[in-house]
């Protein structure tokens, strides 16, 4: 199975890169883009065909390595 892990800064953490991108978009006239948060995206190729197991494994590596729980949170999609 494949797991997709999306890591972003927690809402309470200021994202200077996202802010700069938002400012750039505003200067291009995209006033409709209220805010931007930048993050990281991982694709995990997993040696299991069980959804629950894939979800569990992806969450475990996200907790341990892919995300830093002090500043980041993550979301997982499995298919």
């Amino acid at each position: 199975m494949r797991a997709r892990v999306f890591v972003t800064l927690k809402p309470s953490v200021f994202d200077p890169q996202g802010r700069t991108i938002a400012d750039a978009l505003h200067s291009l006239g995209y006033g409709g883009v209220a805010d931007v948060r930048q993050g990281k995206y991982f694709e995990l190729d997993l040696a299991t065909s069980e959804r629950a197991q894939a979800q569990k494994l992806a969450a475990e590596v996200a907790d341990k390595v892919l995300a830093n729980p002090v500043i980041e949170s993550y979301r997982i999609e499995v298919d």
Partner: protein, 252 residues
């Protein structure tokens, strides 16, 4: 005393730290490769600046998996002094030896310049030769030195007096203009609860010779040496005490 300087693939301030320890202060210094598993009898361990493992994923994130880090962790747990400078500080955070995390500098620029920092605490092996409130002019060089901790962690750090250096102006006043990276509470350096593990973004090893633009970093190395000789003395006293106790026991 012996300095142990850990070298990760991508470290680039290891030679500066080695040079300061050996050439400027006349101490023994050994490089320790990240794949080593022991600290070669080091009395103090320095995790130097650079870009360990290319700073892949997050700054310092991969270095915590280097084999040497379990030895560094046990050394720290036994009370051994550990100093992380710049990338070394980021590694200590990722390894969980210090609380908090680093974010991109708020200005998004890599800042490479001299800054002023104020010594907040002198009760560590790395600041014991300094005066509280002393202002040091030391260079920084980083893109991710924006220290962050949750409000609860921050409150605990301040309450336990674990903030060791703060960015200030030349007079020692904290203000926004003197904060080069957006660090919360202008934090430039913190220690752990036991006070033997310190991380700092400024580079004292680059400020030990007038030829290189300043000598304010010397006090950090002087502290290390002073703290080591104090602990060696106290060990010797304990040893002498134990021998005397042993002698009187024999006579009885």
């Amino acid at each position: 005393m012996r300095f142990g300087i850990v070298v990760f693939p991508g470290s680039n301030c290891d030679e500066d730290a080695h040079h300061a320890a050996r050439q400027v202060f006349g101490q023994d210094a050994e490089y320790i490769w990240h794949k080593d598993t022991e600290l070669k009898g080091a009395d103090v361990v320095i995790l130097p600046g650079g870009f360990a493992h290319g700073d892949y994923l997050r700054t310092g994130a991969m270095a915590r998996f280097s084999p040497i880090m379990s030895a560094v962790r046990s050394f720290a747990d036994r009370g051994g002094p550990v100093l992380g400078i710049c990338n070394g500080f980021q590694i200590l955070l990722e390894a969980g030896l210090l609380p908090g995390a680093m974010l991109r500098n708020t200005g998004l620029k890599y800042r490479c310049e001299h800054v002023h920092v104020r010594v907040e605490q002198t009760g560590t092996p790395f600041t014991c030769a300094a005066r509280a409130g002393q202002v040091l002019r030391i260079p920084i060089g980083h893109g991710e030195g924006n220290y962050f901790a949750s409000p609860e962690t921050l409150q605990a750090l301040e309450a336990n007096r674990q903030v060791i250096l703060r960015y200030t102006d030349a007079q020692g006043r904290v203000d926004e203009a003197s904060n080069p990276n957006g660090s919360v509470n202008s934090i430039a350096s913190i220690c752990n609860e036991a006070r033997n593990v310190v991380g700092m973004m400024p580079h004292p090893e680059r400020a030990c010779e007038a030829l290189l633009g300043g000598i304010d970093g010397r006090v950090i190395f002087e502290s290390i040496i002073e703290s080591f000789s104090r602990s060696a003395e106290s060990l010797a006293l304990q040893g002498a005490g134990a021998r005397r106790a042993g002698l009187s026991g024999d006579r009885m």
